[in-house]
């Protein structure tokens, strides 16, 4: 068992906008290429060119089809990575102290030196956000790109998670969700950002923004005068008047 620290005031995390995610996988692949050469063991891929390629990913895009009653079926893309929960069951379940939550910013990390690869944390995570590295057999998870956000070797503007920097649709945002005045907190407040599976009691830091209400496709705009025939009172009649106005 590992203890969680006292709740931090600073809670770094992601806000993911489901309204605009087109399911392009840019975030997932850019995450993989940054992190395979970054924090901890590389993100290995076994049978990489074979029958059943399987690698460790810190972020995956899930695709669902939903069929609302009153509108056509639609596809929803749902990117999912560690949500850096305030009450992170993956931390408390860890027998070695490898899985931990940072007191200073709330990021949940795995100290791979202490990880024995038992997999309890991934069982405990209700979101399936942790993956055992298939080569190194240590637990991998989103680090919120801790080696980017505090990295003095990167330009300040680039000190954001790789997924946020790369997202072509700007569907991903990073910031301090513990600060009610931060851009991300305001975004969550304005857009009705929600917790994933609140019933799990994990109090995730990451938030999702729901799809916006579609701009009322069923409200007919103001109808213009209709022209029914080509006679003098019809389209060509209208044309004369319109051209007169034009001068």
């Amino acid at each position: 068992m590992t203890l969680l620290p006292a709740p931090s005031t600073k809670r770094l995390g992601l806000v993911i906008d489901l309204d605009i995610c087109v399911g392009c996988h840019a975030c997932a692949v850019n995450c993989k290429e940054w992190n395979t050469g970054g924090y901890g063991a590389p993100l290995g891929d076994v049978d990489a060119y074979g029958v059943k390629p399987e690698g460790a990913w810190l972020n995956r895009i899930h695709t669902f089809e939903v069929s609302p009653k009153d509108s056509p079926a639609q596809i929803v893309h749902f990117p999912k990575s560690c949500l850096h929960c305030q009450d992170a069951p993956c931390v408390t379940v860890c027998p070695t102290g490898a899985s931990y939550k940072r007191s200073e910013d709330g990021i949940v990390l795995v100290d791979e030196d202490r990880c024995i690869g038992c997999g309890l944390c991934s069982w405990a995570c209700p979101y399936g956000a942790r993956e055992m590295d298939p080569v190194e057999k240590v637990m991998k998870k989103c680090t919120l790109c801790i080696d980017r956000i505090y990295n003095d070797n990167l330009a300040e503007i680039d000190r954001v998670p790789a997924c946020v920097r790369t997202c072509p649709a700007h569907a991903r945002h990073y910031g301090d969700l513990g600060d009610p005045n931060s851009d991300v907190s305001k975004m969550v407040a304005e857009r009705g950002g929600f917790d994933l599976m609140p019933e799990a009691g994990t109090r995730p830091v990451n938030k999702y923004l729901p799809p916006r209400a579609k701009t009322s496709p069923n409200t007919p705009p103001k109808q213009s005068e209709q022209t029914e025939s080509l006679e003098a009172t019809g389209f060509l009649g209208w044309l004369d008047k319109a051209l007169e106005k034009l001068g």
Binding site: L3, T36, G55
Partner: protein
Amino acid sequence: MSQTGQETGQEIGPGRGTGEHREQERGLDASPKVSDRVARTTCYMCACRCGINVHLRDGKVRYIEGNRDHPINRGVLCAKGSAGIMQHYSPARLRKPLLRTGERGSGQFREIEWEEALTLATEWLGEVRMRDPKKLAFFTGRDQSQSLTSWWAQQYGTPNYAAHGGFCSVNMAAAGVYTFGGAFWEFGAADWERTKLFLIFGVAEDHDSNPIKLGLSRLKERGVKTIAVNPVRTGYNAVADEWVGVTPGTDGLFVLSIVHELLKSGKVDLDYLIRYTNAPWLVIDDEGAADHGLFARDKDGKPLVAERGGDKVVAYDKKGVKPALKGRFKLADGPDGGREGVPVFELLARRYLDASLAPEETEKTTGVPADQTRRIAAEIAETAFEKEIVVDQPWTDMKGERHDKMIGRPVSFHAMRGISAHSNGFQTCRAIHLLQILIGSIDTPGGFRFEPPYPRPVGLQPKPHLGPNLPGEPLQGPHLGFPEGPEDLLLEEDGVTPVRIDKAFSWDAPLSAHGLMHMVISNAHARDPYGVDVLFLYMANMAWNSSMNTAGVMKMLSDRDEDGEYVIPKIIYSDAYDSEMVSYADLVLPDTTYLERFDCISLLDRPIGEPDVLADAIRWPVLEPDRDVRGFQSVLLDLGARMGFPGMVKEDGSPRYKDYADYIIHHERKPGRGPLAGWRGKDGDKTGRGEPNEDQLERYIEHGGFFEIELPENTRYYRHANRDWQEWAVEHGVQDSIVENVFQLYLEPLRKFQLSAEGKVQPAAPESHREQIIRCFEPLPDWYAPFEGEAIDEGDFPFHALTQRPAAMYHSWGSQNAWLRQIYGTNPLFVPGAVCDSAGLKDGDWAWVISPHGRIRVPVKRTDAVNPKTMWTWNAIGKRSGAWALKPGAPEASKGFLLNHLINELLPPKGDGMRWSNSDPVTGQAAWFDLRVRIEKAEAPDELSLPQFPPQENPLPKPPENVTWGKEWTR
């Protein structure tokens, strides 16, 4: 012990409990070194050409990210671009030139030295050049160096050159250029900052990958409505506010029904139409005459208009003229004396007000409910005319009239493959442009905007050129261009036989501005119009996903004639990877990856301009090749010099260019104008025009691999008619002279072809083609049913089958990529729920999909987010076993599949003895999306997709079991 800090409250403080570990205790380095250096170059994981920062460490690629300064992607990068590392280090990369040792298709080769390879290629190519140059067919696939490859082919003297546009999206390019001097594709963009309604037709992932995502995101931020028209509701269509699940191939009818509604309610921009289009031009009405339906012209050839309120007929560009848009006018002057002309606009109004285009009527074919069509038309009208944008920016039009404002109609459009890949795609694309123009939204604030160097109307485009077909004689101009009538076709003296092997610019496909690469192998095999001696291909996977009728094409490539010789005697192929096409080549010239060579994304070719900037770019070797491969462009220049091409050797016969980089710097297509526009002139201080600059490539490299220049504010809209723009463009070498660009609602070249099909003018179309030309070449945008649907019995093949390109894959390149193949390693056929129910299919079942041409066995997945008559799959995931260095049993080959096996490059025989290409009859665009099918449940105890092919051998070492990229940099 309590489980969480929350529950234990203050007892758990910093430094207490096993849950708390300071960074230093954990040995966490939150500020590690990232790379030794960052090389900024251009991506090539798809056709989008984004700027990338390649982080290099210990001589290897550590990380690739988007370049924030780059005009295309502004810092973001897609999945493909981010997976560039795995592409560069792919085990499918070729290592040395290869000479075939086994049968074609077997994949048996021996590695040879470059000198042997180049000597052999020179021998094969040189012999043909001195004997009968047309017997070389040189076609390139995903080629981003067409200004070089085309020039090389001109120097060789063969008429048989094109890139792959004919099976890609020529309909978009041709319809756009002919209609308004621009095109969707990558040559224009919605005004993302100002538009108030956006319609996107037939787009999954495509050209402009990142710009469209950035743009859609901006629309969402601004609360702008997006309407997506696509039978399949994935990707962009999934996030759109409204989805129109149109029946494939009927988009044109849907658009014309909107036009019908707009005309009915008088919602058209008459001022815009009068100023910028041929709406007022008079069309000769003289049934039976040889010029019936052509524009009435004065003795200088200028089209005529009638002055409103009178009967005077004057040149369209007479200053101050107020032209009539309706009526019949006596054509008193010139050769038309005594006859009558009618303004285009009246013909147009009569045509589109026809009751057959009422939404209730079109619904029967498009599947789009009449109410929805009518409402969308009203939304377009309301946005265009009630939400007008006025920008206080003075500008000058082509007549010299000064305007103090720019008026915008903020409805924008984008369209791509779903529109173009039909046999009616040219007309459908024209219909969309008609709609844009009627509401006055092209290159106006909030509308669709040109990306410089566009607009480039037909007047700024070349005509197709032929060579003298004499040994050693170059062509006098480019192969590809834009014919303006039958007189511009490339025909033998009989006026019928095509000159080109792909039959481009013949009666089969008169406006085939990008050639018909998809017909080359089929025609060469049939020796129709003749056989070829050498087939030379670059980056084109014609033995697999880039061909229709894949199995047939594989056979054609390996068929032998009665003498036991291959029907296509010699095949030279260049690619960086062991693709399916490699196994059919006799000689393989291995290319580098995109990180190892110079490339030039040129204004002479397909530039990277954005609406407010003129830009071009390079790639440069950020890594040296670790194997014996050479950039194809340098190899071409070497071959050209060995054969003594006039442009490629000096007076003493020695090579003029050391390599491609040397060419990029020193080549001048015209004095002062070369491949790159930036940093020209001896001191690098000239833009567009200027003598070569020895340091030009260094300047590009310093500036992130690209050059850009911002357009002055007064040249950012109305560029079709903006004198300020035209003058700027001439000054900056974008064009040679000021050229008029009147939007062609009524396209006279089409009417000329109809006249030749009516037998009224010479050259007259052959009898066999007349009916088709008369029907499909309507000079006003039109809709006709796709050909394949017409040729079959609807009851036998009730469904449509399509591919969609996944955002994380691009053609066949992606499957060798260890990361991307984990995302799309197989491609089920997505089948509408109701179809599944009636065929007894559920997820995981297998089905036969049967077309008039063939049958395939595929895995099935149910979906309802699709047009109910349409099934679809992801594009080009399926692979031939053994290709791309994938191991036996890889799912791409065992379960993946291509729809290509169901599609023939020829239409079903009509009993007339002719071979009719499965293409748009106007442009020759391959009609991939016309495919019609039925579906039946299949047993598949072996869980294999069918057809399967014997595995190709490959000349490469076994790929590794595992990948742990970056291990040396992790702790």
